[in-house]
């Protein structure tokens, strides 16, 4: 991994478009999701990720990546998204969908996400974790993740209450957290190092 990264970084520094394409292939969706989670708009998310890559391109010769390319990109996307939220906040164009708490939450919570779980092997464990959720719980989780259904839509579809949906989703996440415990521990260790 480290070695591959070094090659990639060398490519980036030289302005090798293949290296940039590789980054797009590996991380584009993940980065867009991080941005989307913060700014709540896919189009804006794409814009943010694109800005991050263009900036990386502009400073490629001077780039100094100490951790990993992935870590760098995640941080950059996070900061750019936060900046975007900050601007919206300043211009008073935050909406119900995107309000002051969103900005505060991210401005204040400084180290999420780290992309530790975004590794092939960990994702496999995550998938296994999803597989082994209790049936009803898994079904609700997948409806939310795959179909991006609203709570009320899931409730209606399955003939259950919205509160059950909430509870089950929380259970799903805590079970997955349990399944990924070791990896998340590493994550904590690194954060507090």
């Amino acid at each position: 991994m480290e070695h591959v990264d070094q090659q990639l970084i060398n490519g980036l520094q030289k302005g090798d478009l293949n290296a940039f394409e590789e980054l797009y292939r590996q991380y584009y969706v993940f980065l867009c999701l991080i941005a989307e989670n913060m700014v709540r708009d896919p189009a804006d998310a794409k814009e943010i990720v694109s800005d991050v890559f263009v900036r990386l391109w502009n400073i490629r010769e001077k780039i100094e990546i100490n951790t990993s390319v992935k870590g760098y990109l995640i941080r950059a996307v996070r900061n750019t998204s936060l900046n975007y939220l900050g601007q919206k906040r300043q211009n008073g164009i935050l909406t119900d969908r995107l309000d002051d708490s969103d900005y505060q939450l991210y401005a204040w919570s400084s180290d999420y996400p780290l992309g530790r779980l975004f590794e092939e092997e960990v994702r496999k464990i995550l998938d296994q974790g999803i597989e082994s959720l209790p049936d009803a719980c898994r079904e609700i989780f997948l409806l939310s993740r795959n179909e991006e259904l609203k709570y009320c839509e899931i409730a209606e579809k399955l003939g259950i209450s919205v509160n059950t949906v909430k509870t089950q989703l929380k259970i799903a996440l805590s079970r997955l957290r349990e399944a990924l415990r070791d990896y998340l521990l590493i994550l904590i260790f690194i954060v507090f190092l």
């Binding site: 797009y24 794409k46 900036r55 939450l105 709570y151 929380k170 904590i188």
Partner: protein, 385 residues
């Protein structure tokens, strides 16, 4: 769990937050809960991490990386409009520079062969060859025995016409990287002001600028013998193994080194063997040296680790042929770690000024460094970008 059946702990709000289901009231409730306890914050962070990773493993037609990459290429093309012109120009300049180095290399090695050829026939006493690399540049050349040497800015290398016949001796002032060709029975000696470095077939770096307080010899491969010059108070010999560095302090004619592996300085002091001169000879060796930063200069790259601005300034002066003045003494103690590729001095200074509270003023060949009182503001801006 709360006795009220309709009440759920704010922890249950996290999935809702992640899928964008929360009302503003619920969001502020969640925010308060997260802020109230580091444990809660950690839980939130971890759920975010799990949720986004889980989402990333399914298809997202709205995020197509081909499309994203295509747009990226469009953007850098339009943005690069003018700078690209510059780039092309500087590329030509780069090529010219390399061409010049190649030509100089060819000339120098040709010359050494030529003189060598003559010296065999004619008397040896008159000619000494001297290679001078001006400040702001570096040069690579090949000696008649097949040894390659790269000289850093502001260095000079002298050698006798008889070089290679009975012995191989060069004198160095400045910094050079030598890749010595193996010639049995003929060691290769680099003489400096205070020490001689004797090699068989090896690659090593010698840094012996007359305005430095130390002479540093770093061995990349092979083995190396470093001897003091008796007239300068020491004739002691030190043998170096690969990845060892020997530091020689000129002031009191001592050879000193440090061992970073165990993080402490070791100075071995001994008296010269023959006479009781009052001069102390201290020598020690740095083990497990990362040679990359030491020889990075020869690839036109410059790696420095925790170097003080005072040290960096000296090297900048050589590298770019400028003079650096400090408006404040405090600045000299700032330490930098980084890698620079071949960049113009303006860019190097620019980089420093965004990573530390330093202002620079470049007028002709004089750079004035001063403290930047507004750095906090600048840093904030950069960070938020």
């Amino acid at each position: 769990m709360s006795p009220n059946k309709n009440y759920l702990s704010p922890e249950y709000l996290i999935p809702g937050y992640l899928s964008g289901e929360l009302t503003p009231e619920e969001k502020s409730e969640l925010l308060i809960w997260i802020k109230s306890n580091p444990e809660n914050k950690r839980l939130f962070d971890e759920y975010c991490e799990i949720w986004i990773t889980a989402r990333s493993s399914i298809n997202h037609p709205e995020y197509n990386f081909h499309e994203g990459f295509w747009k990226f290429k469009q953007k850098i093309r339009t943005e690069a409009g003018i700078p690209e012109g510059f780039k092309r120009k500087s590329l030509t300049r780069e090529l010219l520079k390399y061409a010049a180095i190649i030509i100089i290399t060819a000339l120098l090695s040709g010359l050494s062969f030529y003189y060598f050829g003559r010296s065999q026939v004619i008397n040896r006493d008159q000619s000494m060859n001297e290679l001078v690399v001006p400040l702001g540049s570096s040069a690579r050349f090949c000696l008649s025995d097949g040894t390659t040497a790269i000289l850093n800015a502001g260095s000079r290398l002298k050698y006798d016409n008889s070089f290679g016949i009975s012995e191989r001796v060069v004198s160095l002032e400045g910094e050079g990287f030598f890749n010595v060709a193996k010639v049995s029975d003929k060691p290769f000696t680099v003489k400096t002001s205070h020490i001689n470095v004797i090699a068989m077939g090896t690659a090593f770096n010698v840094k012996a600028y007359s305005n430095d307080k130390t002479i540093e010899t770093t061995l990349v491969e092979g083995s190396l013998k470093v001897e003091g010059i008796a007239a300068k108070g020491t004739a002691e010999v030190t043998v170096l193994k690969p990845n060892q560095k020997l530091t020689f302090f000129k002031e009191d004619s001592t050879i000193v080194g440090e061992i970073p592996g165990v993080e402490k300085k070791r100075v071995i002091t001994a008296q010269p063997a023959e006479v009781q001169k009052p001069v102390s000879i201290a020598r020690a060796v740095t083990e497990n040296v990362d040679v990359k930063p030491v020889i990075s200069w020869k690839e036109n790259k410059w790696i420095f680790e925790k170097k003080s601005l005072a040290q960096i300034a000296v090297e900048l002066e050589r590298k770019f042929d400028v003079r650096i003045e400090f408006e404040s003494e405090r600045l000299k103690t700032y330490r930098f770690t980084g890698t620079l590729l071949a960049e113009p001095i303006e860019q190097v200074l620019e980089l420093m000024s965004i990573s530390a509270p330093i202002n620079f003023d470049l007028k002709g060949k004089v750079v004035t460094l001063s403290e930047n009182k507004n750095f906090g503001e600048l840093n904030k801006r950069l960070y938020n970008q």
